[in-house]
């Protein structure tokens, strides 16, 4: 039996959070502004961009992982950065997977506002920055949904993080890759335990975000 004690499980869990949360924040900081920008402007080629976003939303994470690995290997274009099998690589892959999803859902949330709403805001002579604030207020539920969806995807992703992270003990092993490994070794009890931790994480995150959602409604 592998030497897996509580300390190891804690370490793997903290690392999982240390990969998933920064990935979510980075993806949100890229995806939400892009989604808002794309949703509030009309320009030539917009349709093409929206199609690209939709395609990206459907891109299989494992393919993203493969492409990332090909670039990050020493033999690849970005090899000299020595990022392969590091947490940074895992965060990068997760960001690539999550950004189209966040852009897409933000875009949908912005699109759900009807034209009259935006005209109304303009005719009240509200300055640009405050219009943005009001817009975000209106779509905040949609944004929350996109973040929850992205986080769920990131936490449960296994193909890409395995490929670019390598599941190295003490360095890049996270809950999903550890579960795969212990299952392949026949150590199902350990795998179940890690699985329970992972589900617990998902529930906590979902619960936190739902609580925020509820408090927002009552205000």
């Amino acid at each position: 039996m592998s030497n897996v004690d509580v300390e190891t499980i804690v370490e793997i869990t903290l690392r999982t959070l240390g990969v998933c949360i920064p990935a979510l924040l980075i993806a949100a900081s890229i995806g939400i502004p892009l989604g808002i920008a794309l949703g509030t402007r009309r320009f030539a080629g917009r349709g093409l961009l929206v199609s690209t976003v939709n395609a990206g939303m459907g891109a299989p994470p494992v393919v993203v992982g493969l492409v990332s690995a090909t670039l990050l290997w020493r033999s690849g274009a970005l090899g000299s950065f020595e990022l392969m099998y590091t947490q940074a690589a895992m965060i990068l892959a997760q960001v690539l997977i999550a950004v189209p999803l966040i852009i897409g859902i933000t875009l949908a949330a912005v699109g759900a506002l009807d034209e009259e709403w935006s005209l109304q805001v303009k005719t009240l002579g509200i300055s640009r920055t405050w219009r943005l604030w009001l817009l975000i207020r209106e779509i905040r539920m949609g944004l929350l949904a996109s973040l929850i969806a992205a986080l769920g995807g990131i936490l449960s992703e296994v193909g890409a993080v395995q490929m670019v992270g390598g599941n190295i003990a003490g360095e890049t092993r996270v809950l999903t890759t550890a579960i795969m490994m212990h299952t392949s070794m026949g150590e199902f009890e350990i795998a179940h335990g890690l699985g329970a931790v992972l589900i617990g994480l998902t529930l906590i995150v979902a619960g936190l975000l739902t609580a925020i959602q509820q408090s927002g409604r009552l205000r």
């Binding site: 009807d114 009259e116 709403w117 005209l119 109304q120 805001v121 303009k122 005719t123 009240l124 002579g125 509200i126 300055s127 920055t129 405050w130 604030w133 009001l134 207020r137 209106e138 205000r219």
Partner: protein, 365 residues
């Protein structure tokens, strides 16, 4: 039309051209000159699709206009309240206060102005309610409060009384009038409710197929519409075509097709083919009190009362005339369908326009 008011415009459209849509849906707004004065209400009338809402939006600066169009303002805030006002998510107070965001107004002042605006339209008690839970009427009041909190110089209203019941309209109209009087704001309003319009209007502008076809003072437009189409739009329902028979001093007599002779003070020459118009409230049922000149007899076809006014339809040969009576007063209570009555009218209230050139020949309003 010559405008002889000497107060300056707070908003003026000059040579306004605005093109919308493509192909068969193309529409062009053409308004050469239209101005708004402080403290007055301009009501914009016209059939559906005439471009009334587009004109309001152009005045608000929301429509792309062609070159050489100018919308010149005095610099104060111009705000537009839409036909279907949109609520921001949040409380009513937040909605009203949204208009004041980022304008360097202290929190104390904000609160004061929000409360004042809510009080103007009697929705203070709703201040903390979620704006999404408001009824249609309450939403309209919110929209008006939101507009007034800005202390605008110009207020543009698109169908402000839509979807309200009679009492709601009456109450809102009163509150609005008070607010206009207290703040001196210039108002341009689009409404299809003619009666409400006539109660509130100081000036009237008529649009037809995108073109401004007439504008002037309330009475000027109501009494002296330039064409048959405008007459219908402003509620001059008794219209007919005829020929001028003779002139006797100030009064010309016009025979309309079926033998009625109608006197008018309008300047028309004997022999002219003209159309004649009489507002329903000016067509009198002759009870021997000398209410104008008798013009012929008619039979009561039917009566409709809304409690305030009774609309009487009178049939004379093939023609239907309309007149208004105060409900509950003598004549309205006594008349029955089938009664034969005499019609009379004061020649000063008879409008006539020669058909060759549809230009009013009356003295300016």
């Amino acid at each position: 039309m010559i405008d002889d008011s000497d107060t300056p415009f707070v908003l003026e459209a000059k040579g306004l051209r605005c093109r919308l849509g493509e192909g068969s849906a193309r529409f062009e707004l053409r308004v050469d000159s239209l101005g708004l004065h402080a403290g007055t209400v301009l009501v914009i009338l016209g059939p559906n699709g005439a471009g009334k809402s587009t004109l309001l939006r152009a005045l608000a600066g929301l429509e792309k206009t062609a070159e050489r169009s100018a919308i010149v303002g005095a610099g104060g805030p111009v705000t537009l309240v839409f036909q279907r006002p949109a609520a921001f998510s949040g409380s009513v107070a937040h909605n009203v206060g949204a208009a004041l965001l980022g304008k360097g107004i202290s929190a104390f002042d904000r609160r004061r102005r929000i409360t004042a605006a809510l009080a103007r339209f009697d929705i203070e008690r709703l201040a903390d309610h979620d704006a999404r839970t408001l009824s249609g009427g309450e939403m309209r009041r919110l929209a008006l409060a939101r507009a007034f909190v800005l202390e605008p110089q110009v207020l543009l209203l698109d169908e402000p009384f839509d979807d309200l019941d009679a009492e709601g309209q009456r109450q809102l109209s009163l509150d609005l009038q008070r607010a206009i009087a207290e703040t001196g704001v210039a108002v341009a309003m689009v409404t299809h409710d003619l009666r409400r319009a006539l109660l509130l209007a100081d000036r009237i502008a008529v649009l037809s197929q995108g073109e401004l076809v007439q504008h002037g003072t309330r009475d000027g437009v109501l009494m002296r519409p330039n064409s048959l189409a405008i007459a219908r739009t402003v509620g001059m329902t008794n219209v007919a075509t005829g020929q001028v028979l003779r002139r006797e001093g100030d009064v010309a007599w016009i025979e309309i097709e079926d033998g009625f002779e109608i006197p008018t003070c309008a300047i028309v020459r004997p022999g002219d083919r003209v159309w004649v118009g009489i507002r329903p409230e000016h067509l009198k049922i002759d009870v021997g009190r000398g209410d104008g000149q008798p013009i012929g007899k008619a039979e009561v076809d039917h009566l409709v009362s809304d409690g305030l006014a009774t609309v009487v339809s009178l049939r004379a040969r093939d023609r239907l005339f309309t007149t208004h009576l105060l409900s509950g007063r003598g004549l309205a209570r006594r008349l029955r369908t089938g009664d034969r009555v005499s019609l009379a009218v004061d020649p000063a209230h008879v409008h006539a326009v020669a058909i060759d050139d549809e230009r009013a020949t009356n003295a300016p309003a």
